[in-house]
Subunit: 499 residues, 2 copies
């Protein structure tokens, strides 16, 4: 990394904040994998202090002074990117009072286990005070951060720099419009094609098979590991040298752990691919959640639910689980993993209906932030939206409004990035394919080096150097666009469901 | 906890340092249990930053100002204890120039791998320049910290507040004098009684059996867990709510994992028993390494190698490992786990000879600090002392002077706390027994509630409130005393070896 002297001074000053954030990531990872239940109180305090001190460095007068001294470096240089990102973070940090930052950290650390209990007990009521507190803090956050049109924009921008409610709405409309007919067609089919995915799946074999695919993708186990967590995630500790994934296993169903592993491995490939020179600088890590999700969905869906991919891996899956798959044809398996129908759980939704789950959450969280929906009314509103968008009603709140932890941990404005990721996953894959038409035949041999190299070159290595719009423009020659994605869905599901 | 207003302000100010230390503990734990190999570079940076920031708070002018404001609270009060401990930590933090702290960190970071190589290559010579450097830095540290009689006292005090060379010497003399005859007697027996402990021990069964004992002791799994690590340890994350242990398994030998689990559970019971009100204050955690070791050795040896204990657990051990123990009598098993003979390696030594290993190290490190022994002469001095105290000569330096990493990582003054712990383990156990003569019959039923309750009341709950001497005086009515320990050894090994 080539930095001018002033920018180097800025980077050196901010490195301590980066170290504190890395430490906080380790504490978060531990909390979700191994921490004993009674550890939560001390953990909340430790995380609150780490976040307060990191925030203090980012927001400090010294940072302001160094940003002034760095001025406006040459456009396109590393220095310019560092200053741009550091300035955005400094401005965001100075807008939030440190009291608010600690309060958010403490409230969410307490709400996360409360959400777990509420989901286990099917008791939304017990979560209401936590959610109310967090919603109040989110609203306060939006007011401090500031926005042009809508408070939601301030929250969204934290995850997707440049995104706004008014830019998302047309995208969601296109997706709703573009998929309504298709969803109706698969609903009409009303057949369950997923039977092959149910059975008895030994956990150790599930784990070994998932890991073998992550390895084939190019996930480096010397710089990572996989653990169990109730909600699968990917996390990195201060650079590409330690990027971990988690999953959860269902002994009766193959899909949850398998596709979670592919998904999280996709995130991890991105983080492992960032230029190591960016470690402990503002350019470290993926640029936005939308771009991140484009990577996870690309590997999970565009690759991991494709015919070429399973041409290689299905015989291996049959070897691993002969009882379950000995009598199932490759075609029936392919139809099973791509079975589409309106369902309750977002993370288990098929590619076709997935975005409708996101639209629902987007609409509800906008209403919560606006104040047109009250927290205690959330379960009812959830179920009404499920009817509206998907034509079903969840069996209970655990399979409804309590299924995701995002709101309990303060992630308002996060959900839309999933759909942005879906849209971009196909746009990026098509760009790679255009340059390397041999990618599908490589996939048929269980090889992914060309695809990974293209992503490394065009997406991963840049870290936060380019803003999302620039990155997508550079990589694909176009701004984000739903056209390739809708075409992909139509071709794939048209063929599968005969429309 | 009842604190006056000024002391409360001091505690509030120092809480952030405590949080940073808790976070560092999580990072250390992870580094030794789960961290992938390539995570080490970022981890080193994160830990360096956490320790720098924590040290900065402890040493800060604001801490000095708050200590001044707190003045001298009422003797015996929580406030008085807080101010005493906080002042000691502040003074220690300000006495060492930061240049020296970095030099020690750098020197030990280089010496630790050098020690590993030297041990692997049986090449003490390659370690000499490292040890010389570290010894010089330890001497300089002693001068900065200050002492009354001997520079060694300054180093010792870091681990055992109040301990001095001149107080340790009579204790070590008593132990040498008291055990010489006994060691001669077991050496004369010259028989190997340990055969029953070798065999094939399934790891999962070892783990389950060890955990069942820790549970019976009263280790609370809701506030802890056990993981695997190359070197067993106990660690807590900011209070009694999260106190973890680790162990390592040897598939061919039962003892290493089993007794490591009992030992670390003993440390953990102490930490889990500290008054939760002390969390995030200077009074949190065990008061000294000697008192800590008294707890681990009490549960490992005084309880865990006793007849009453195995009266309950041996049938259960036979159930867990019928192949290994089906044909071994309880008496032969008891003789195996208490087999005594002079041996080369401290961490594998029996109760009778263990302290002679410590005496040897104490005498050598005092001589090094005084300058009466030169670093290159250490192997010769080591072997001479082994002959003098244990009547054997190590096969080579790897099994001699190079076996421990303590000196390479700058832990001068640490070894004596092991023996202090042994001595106090019996003194405390006898005090508990005097008050509750039913403890051995409870142990025969696998029950430990009365013993644990006595330790909680007299040792654990106090955290750092009382200095070690006061704690021992209050708990046993006497200062530290080798008499009970020597009587215990004589009775136990006299009966086992017929002297």
């Amino acid at each position: 990394m080539n930095l001018d002297k002033q920018t180097r001074a800025l980077v050196d000053h901010l490195a301590a904040a980066s170290d504190l954030d890395s430490a906080a990531s380790v504490l978060h990872w531990d909390q979700q994998t191994y921490m004993p239940p009674e550890g939560v109180a001390a953990r909340a305090e430790a995380l609150a202090t780490l976040s307060r001190l990191s925030h203090g460095i980012t927001a400090s007068d010294e940072t302001a002074r160094l940003l002034d001294a760095a001025g406006a470096p040459e456009p396109g240089s590393d220095s310019e990117a560092v200053v741009r990102v550091a300035r955005r973070e400094h401005e965001r940090a100075t807008k939030l009072p440190s009291r608010l930052v600690s309060e958010i950290s403490r409230a969410t650390t307490l709400a996360e286990p409360a959400w777990r209990r509420a989901r286990a007990d099917h008791d939304f009521g017990s979560l209401v005070p936590h959610l109310q507190k967090i919603l109040d803090l989110q609203r306060e956050t939006a007011e401090h951060l500031g926005y042009k049109d809508h408070p939601y924009d301030a929250l969204l921008d934290r995850y997707e720099p440049g995104a706004t409610k008014s830019r998302l709405e047309p995208m969601f409309e296109e997706l709703k419009r573009g998929t309504t007919e298709m969803v109706r067609a698969v609903s009409a089919a009303a057949e369950d094609r997923t039977a092959p995915l149910r059975g008895a799946f030994d956990e150790a074999r599930q784990e070994a098979f998932g890991k073998s695919i992550a390895s084939a993708f190019g996930y480096d186990w010397g710089r990572g590991r996989q653990d169990r967590a109730p909600h699968p995630f990917c996390i990195n500790f201060g650079g590409p040298g330690d990027v971990r994934i988690t999953t959860r296993f269902d002994p009766d169903r193959l899909s949850p752990a398998l596709f979670a592993t592919l998904h999280e491995a996709g995130h991890a490939l991105y983080e492992q691919g960032v230029d190591p020179a960016y470690s402990r600088t503002p350019l470290s890590g993926g640029v936005s959640l939308g771009i991140h999700e484009s990577q996870s969905r690309l590997w999970e869906n565009v690759v991991g639910r494709s015919r070429p991919f399973w041409a290689h891996f299905y015989p291996r899956l049959q070897d691993a689980f002969p009882d379950a798959f000995g009598g199932t044809s490759a075609e029936d398996f392919y139809r099973a993993i791509n079975a589409a129908s309106p369902s309750e759980i977002r993370v288990e939704a098929d590619e076709l209906t997935y975005n409708l789950h996101v639209v629902l959450r987007f609409e509800l969280e906008v209403a919560l932030i606006e104040g047109s929906l009250a927290v205690p009314d959330l379960p009812g509103a959830w179920n009404a939206k499920m009817q509206e968008h998907l034509g079903i009603t969840p069996k209970d709140d655990a399979r409804g409004v309590l299924q995701d932890d995002h709101w309990a941990i303060g992630f308002f404005g996060y959900f839309p990035t999933y759909t942005l990721g879906n849209v971009l996953s196909v746009q990026l894959f098509e760009a790679a394919l255009k340059e390397h038409p041999g990618i599908p035949s490589e996939m048929e041999r269980g090889e992914f080096a060309t695809l990974l190299a293209w992503l490394r070159e065009n997406v991963h290595r840049h870290g936060k150097k380019h803003d999302p719009d620039t990155l997508v423009q550079n990589a694909t020659g176009r701004p984000p666009d739903t056209t390739p994605y809708l075409r992909y869905l139509r071709e794939k599901f048209g063929e599968l469901y005969g429309f």
